[in-house]
Symmetry: D2
Subunit: 346 residues, 4 copies
């Protein structure tokens, strides 16, 4: 079975990651690429300033880029991936949805909308049921699903694993890589020999998206998880891989060993881009792991890493890490697309 | 008035900072430098691989380095600064104390001893009274005082300022500069394009030293502050300046404005190396400050910076920063030395 | 004596350096600041995103920024410094010159024009005589002088010192700091863990400007120096300070000691911003110097450093370094301005 | 056919690369690992602090490490790879050679010995004939061949390709990655926001090894190439990949197009680890390539990249790049080992 896919915003940093990840994909075949007017009409090779270290797949290089407009996307496209800037996405995604397209989107608009599934397949695939609500509400033939922000997705799998112990409060501080801001988002003069204790809009995203992802869906309505989540976000001079320091208050008494088992045994999912094991946990013999450069590429960048699990007076502290432009962006959307296919929405 | 001072461990990274900070000091005059056997007998210029960006003061360059042994330090030295490795200090400092020397030490040994003052002059200068207890206990003619760890000192002034609001719980995550590990402590292959979520022994130091610094001394005994402090420590690729993300639970309802006022108005101290204002606070118009490279040198590296103060469900979150080898090491010891003089202990 | 000066393009990276360097200047007093339309009418504090680590001088902070137009610059301004983008400067500088303003410009346009002095005061101050030629040619009441490109100025003083030995061929490779491209010129994703072997237009600038600077002026015409100069320019992950590896073919047999003496004794100039000694030379006991971070700030960033002088079959090789936004940009223009005053052109 | 190989100095940075590169090798099978006394007797997993981003191959992890002594290496080992420190290698390699072992060594000792082949298989495989001379001279049953220094091997293939145009003089400046100094060779405090214009002993290596590699072997004696080679070596803050700026004087008139053709068409070799094409050349549409991070991994790190080819008054200038610990160290030794097998020396 082959699913024809398109990429909205194909020339940007996340767009390039989509193309890299879809190269050789068992199910998805790229059939359309869109970008801004300036790029439309050019071949992808001409339009994109390719910055990924693997070469442009040859067949993709020659695809002629269209405008980001439903009129420019052929009808045989079954699934769209979107990595548009959120302002553009807020305007354009509805146009595609009205035309009946299904979109797995990485853009941040509408993530917190009550009728839009925000999903990590291993965590809350059942939230896809919201698509019915969405279609009722909006009158769309298509469907819109979102993946969370890169900083959120790094932490939520570990919280999901610990939820059985009575997750109550979370304090998380991030050490985020520059690629999270896009290719030109952070200048070298800002970040060399430096760190920046602020990423616009990031902290509220982590605080609300986490509770939606961990929330429960009763078939009609979604309830947010009751935990209190406090986030502080920082940019540091790493290229890829967000590292996060997490403190959790838990209702139960939990040993680091319990927590480790819960994380390592958290069930994965059988989808082409999913890692064999969702969370890799480093033990106390490797207290200095995970590290961004050494661990971001585990299982093709789709595995979460955790380590340094230690008891605190009211719970635990630990570190976690994920590849922010793979597991945290393009890879997350691709995995959501695979879930849509698996669950019969496409 | 001139006080003759000596530096134990004068050739190391912190030792070099001592020499830089004491150059032109109004009261302190360097009269003795010690180092390991390999260096003893050489001029300081020959013995030290000087790595500070300002040149070696000319008079210091020609001082002949002695062994770190009381026999090699002249009697006219009134005050010793120590930046020895803690293992060495634990063995050697008592030898000097028995001979009657007064030591302002940056080494981590004995910081948590019940009869050793751990002081930041602006915060808990009254703890110097412990010297009497110490002399009674140990039979020393000299006196030993310690300054806290660089990561501790970055945060504690802000906690002290907020203590009036009922400080209850603290969650702090550090983003620490490589100089904190000494000149050769972090290799370039470890840290370029990376971060390390572990610094040996650092988290317990922050958790206990903070409570001692904020504790109260009744003239006979020291009580630890009752707050719960949870720390997670990380190394990042910056040269100097520790940045920390802090969450505090407070008993009172406190606005960011209240907190800012409390920090900005926290009383300073009138000592030669003290900053005019202890804590500089960046307002909401500069949410991306403090930053290590831009703010570590405020007031000759002796001022603490804070910013990003924001309400949370149970208190506040904010960031703080200090120069780790100035305010957090050599400068802290020098300031403690100035306090000893001011208070008549020398 | 006080000279009222204005800065064209005052909000950019070099503009900010001008303001920092002019703070406390014995002769120059800032009387006008210009920027693009978007900034005009605002106070400097509002208009500039200040990124220098020292604070904005208080009196400058409140100056209202004008447009970069002669109509917006008061008549009592005696001297203008220009750090406009070269395209803008090519259009706007002539307008100011026609109005009679004297400009010491860092912009690259017109540097190689036959009637425009390109000067380093210590090297070729006599080229100022070209101003007469310029006035005859162009009918300007004002005067335009230029300082060279930051990569050129790093090397040329060392070549000038060696010229007495018969300078014949030069091969220079640069390792340039990111600040040379302006605040947003190099993104972090381009340069972390990387180097870029190309800086647009830089190599021809070094090859031609060097020969003009070393050329001779007979009172009427300028002759280029006859040496062959070959340049290869690279960007590396340093913030400030260009390091350059130079090979020179010399007609005479020259020892490293001869070369060192020639460089160290090359005559300086008595101007407020000039370093006491033009070139500091590291000897064979410090073969790993100069280094950008350790040596860029020598003599307030105005001194050139050299080191590693070694014989080669046909001459010598050595390294040299200068602070690219001080000696290589704003400081170079200020020094040229001081020369204009000294020589009576203002 | 399977060849049993051993690695001398298996726990170091290059040793780890050997193990990574030999994992899945079609011919070579690891049968022995040696290290210092402190590691002997431990499994490799215990002895090595593994820092490569791919995991330790499972079968290698359990090999018990021996001392670096012929007595600890089984007789069935056909080929040894050596990445010992040169001082150690100078003492130990002869002991193995006397016992009849064949060594493909990356250590710098004996590279310039008249009877030791210094080879890059694509360039001068015929120099293996020196083994006969070596055996005559030294009375060894074994054989010792060396690969050049990492900075040398980056440039020499491009020089070999240009030699047909009358290679006369070379001026090369390197921008070398920190991994070239080993895991702890460059501290973070030395290199962040910095560059170091000196690498001990590196420049003479480049100047002499290049001429030996390009020299000719008449079956009895090796003649050095007559070109003059001048090198200036710098360390910069990149992890892997040496970038070099090269100027060549050529007897013939050569266009960049001629040079590009010569480089791209320079014959490769049919060995398992050899790249399909020895030199990849970037054209004038990509003047900012090669770059270390983007290009060091081409063809598994075994391809040389070149770019920026430009005419100069007496020849050409260009840039070249290679992965210093793959093509420049472990990969070079493995390829030499493959050549030894292919040519029947094993």
């Amino acid at each position: 079975m082959t699913v024809r896919v398109g990429i909205l915003g194909a020339t940007g940093a996340v767009g390039q990651r989509f193309i890299q990840l879809l190269d050789g994909h068992p199910t998805f075949e790229i059939g359309a690429l869109t970008a801004s007017k300036a790029s439309a009409g050019k071949t992808y090779k001409e339009a994109a300033k390719w910055r990924v270290s693997t070469p442009i797949p040859e067949d993709v290089a020659e695809i002629v880029v269209g405008r980001t407009d439903p009129a420019d996307v052929p009808d045989d496209i079954d699934l769209l991936f979107s990595s548009l800037p959120s302002g553009v996405a807020a305007e354009v995604e509805p146009q595609f949805l009205e035309e009946g397209f299904v979109i797995s989107s990485n853009s941040s608009n509408d993530r917190m909308a009550e009728d839009v599934p925000l999903t990590i397949p291993e965590i809350n695939g059942d939230h896809l049921g919201l698509i019915e609500v969405q279609r009722d509400n909006r009158g769309w033939d298509g469907a819109l699903i979102k993946n969370p922000n890169c900083s959120t997705i790094t932490m939520v799998p570990t919280l999901a694993a610990l939820d059985e112990f009575g997750l109550d409060r979370v304090h998380v501080t991030t050490l985020q890589a520059v690629s999270g801001a896009g290719y030109s988002g952070v200048t070298s003069m800002e970040i060399i020999d430096n760190a920046i204790p602020h990423i616009g809009g990031e902290e509220p995203k982590m605080e609300t998206e986490s509770r939606k992802l961990l929330g429960s869906f009763d078939g009609a309505e979604l309830s947010m998880h009751g935990a209190e989540v406090n986030a502080s976000c920082n940019r540091i001079p790493t290229l890829d891989g967000h590292l996060e320091s997490v403190f959790v208050d838990l209702a139960d008494d939990v040993t680091p060993e319990d927590a480790r088992n819960a994380m390592e045994n958290y069930p994965g999912i059988d989808l082409p881009s999913a890692p064999e094991q969702l969370i890799h946990v480093f033990g106390e013999d490797q207290p200095d792991r995970p590290q961004p450069r050494l661990d971001r590429d585990r299982e093709n960048g789709m595995q979460i890493s955790a380590g340094g699990i230690t008891e605190t007076p009211q719970g635990l502290k630990y570190n976690c890490l994920a590849h922010n432009t793979v597991r945290g962006a393009a890879g997350a959307s691709v995995l959501n697309g695979e879930l849509l296919v698996e669950e019969g929405w496409i």
